[in-house]
Symmetry: C2
Subunit: 358 residues, 2 copies
DNA sequence: GGAGATCCTCGAATCGATTCGATCGATTCG
DNA sequence: CGAATCGATCGAATCGATTCGAGGATCTCC
């Protein structure tokens, strides 16, 4: 294809110009023009100037990312798969911090985040989008088929807090041990009648009492591990599943649990937001925290609305978790084989837990 | 290039198979194989089966999205540009609702969201990522250069609450009129000494008193419009800019404003989170709301932590705003020319405002 | 002045798929 | 039984760039 210099003036609205057109107008070959734009090879100053002038004249915006990504085999896009609806995922500060760390690390490497959900219609994007790597966040088992596709495509997969799978790089959190640590703290305070409010167990986000069957069938690795951790200390633990990590849900769950007789003297909430809800439920019922009820949280995010109470909670390095995922993605893209990463939580003492009041 | 049926067994780890390899193994042409996968043309059942069998045998994951997007000129990706750090953007429920509406609408059309920020290093993605359309959220003026690139590329741009620009499809909110409406409500209650807490004015997110110069130079269209709306009723309005739409920031701003003499009898906050912060500042100082101080919010999100108070606020249709942006993006992609969209807020009466106590 | 090194520039192959028009065989209709 | 029709398949062009090896010009140094 030849493009005359005059062609530009003949057609007022030409098809979008491409590199070839620019090169032609500049009187150089396409390869040289490419070099001029990418700066990847030696190009003399006058030539470079000619190319840029031609680009300017043709109103050329630079190499087409689509073509670039085909040729280079890289799109600069990292998929982030959330198992929730966006609204839900973004409602929990711990999650947001994680995404923030992720975005920070990826952005620094010139990579962008493609937000995907594994449920509903948005799931199509999972196999259709051009991605260089994928980070699964709290992914459910429904993702196994997607993971297979990623593997076939040679797309590295990073999973945050998920069951280990072959060819999936894990970023772990000691959900079980941390919860056990928290539970032992309660035990030391003398609590024996303890209940738990869990994160959603299924993607249906159904509320309701925990049963061993439900737990076993649960797609939420995190929720399950935290339940197990609590059971390590309180084998006969009872509890309810929430429909999401929100204060409102903690309130609902708290009401349910506190209506039981005998009333639990301590409640383990699987997130700080849930813990705040539980505390609010207690307030409603005139139950004093921590005198009559101890509440343990998880995440260590600063939550509004329980002042002057300060949550006793298991602090997890949310931001670092995201960062680690980002770094892992970058390393895997470069063909590296980073070491698996496991984070641990720290028990931060607040005053939402106290000795049992018998 | 010919690929023998036996080649697959010779090379244990072949370069990733492509459509041509699958077609060769199936004994059909690449065009037919393409038809079989896309279902876009007539393909006999036996042929289709042969193709899929070959794909299975070669462990082919389906057409490469990169190549597809080059050929079809579509990537299925919609860019979403946030002017904030992710962390900040996700901290405000109004923003999240908007993103949720957007995600919902886009997901339904098989499109995925590419999250971008216009500041820092992540900004590179703006011109490098393969996007079919872009939604600017609360974009600053720094985006003008990016918008130029989008225009050159023929990428439709949708801007939510931004200054109108040629070739940019606007989704508007009556920020000014709505704020004026709220201000008139305060006026009717007899308030004369009114102050405002604004959203960040610059991308530096600097706190500090409002000045006409700062307002004029501000990159935040929304903040400016809301200030203007308040000025429509209270021309000599004073106020401070916050560093973000957070409760904590409202608290800081509230303390500053309530330290003035004479103390304002009403404060207009440019978001509900800021309003809650202001109320908390009042509580700190022993100032009763609404008896001694009226506080007006904006957004109409349900905010925790001011019970039993209920915020008087300007309710905006956040989710609908996002949905409208999504629909506009889809329509523009189809070459349509949707009508500009403008949403209006509704003043919802709570009990955080009341008659001036003189 | 010629051999060799340097520096630019170019041609051609390639990335992996889609799509239009052409072709070929089988079926149907008159 | 010939012609028109229809369905399935194929070839070739195309999307827009990158990259490698080769080639030509210029310069250096002996």
């Amino acid at each position: 294809m030849r493009v005359e210099a005059s062609a530009a003036s003949e057609r007022p609205v030409p098809a979008r110009p491409n590199l070839a057109a620019v090169a032609a107008l500049a009187g150089v070959s396409a390869s040289t023009a490419s070099l001029a734009f990418s700066g990847a090879g030696p190009v003399s100053e006058p030539t470079r100037a000619k190319v840029f002038a031609a680009a300017e004249a043709l109103n050329y915006a630079g190499p087409d990312p689509r073509a670039q990504s085909l040729r280079r085999g890289r799109s600069g896009i990292i998929g982030v798969v959330i198992d929730d609806r966006l609204r839900d995922a973004f409602r929990d500060p711990a999650n947001i911090s994680m995404l923030d760390g992720l975005a920070d690390e990826l952005g620094g490497a010139g990579l962008a985040m493609l937000l995907l959900t594994d449920t509903g219609e948005g799931a199509a994007g999972i196999s259709l989008a051009p991605m260089d790597a994928v980070v699964l966040v709290g992914c459910s088992t429904e993702l196994h088929s997607s993971v297979k596709i990623f593997r076939q495509r040679g797309i590295p997969v990073i999973a945050i807090e998920a069951e280990h799978m072959p060819d999936v790089f894990p970023i772990d959190l000691d959900n079980r041990d941390a919860t056990a640590l928290g539970a032992r703290h309660l035990k030391q305070l003398g609590h024996e009648n303890v209940a738990v409010v869990s994160l959603p167990l299924e993607s249906s986000h159904a509320r309701g009492p925990l049963t061993r069957e439900r737990e076993a069938a649960s797609g939420s690795f995190t929720a399950r591990q935290r339940i197990l951790g609590a059971r390590d200390v309180y084998p006969n633990l009872v509890g309810v599943a929430s429909a999401g990590s929100f204060i409102e849900e903690g309130l609902i769950a708290g009401r349910a649990l506190l209506a039981a007789t005998p009333r639990p003297t301590a409640i383990i909430a699987q997130s700080d937001l849930l813990a705040v809800g539980v505390i609010r439920a207690a307030a409603e019922l005139g139950i004093a925290v921590p005198a009559d009820l101890s509440v343990l949280g998880f995440d260590g995010v600063s939550v509004e609305g329980v002042a002057p109470l300060e949550l006793t909670t298991l602090v997890q390095p949310s931001v670092e978790k995201g960062r680690a995922a980002g770094r892992a993605a970058i390393a895997l893209l470069d063909g590296g084989e980073p070491d698996p990463i496991a984070f641990v939580c720290v028990l931060r003492m607040g005053n939402s837990t106290g000795p049992v009041n018998s």
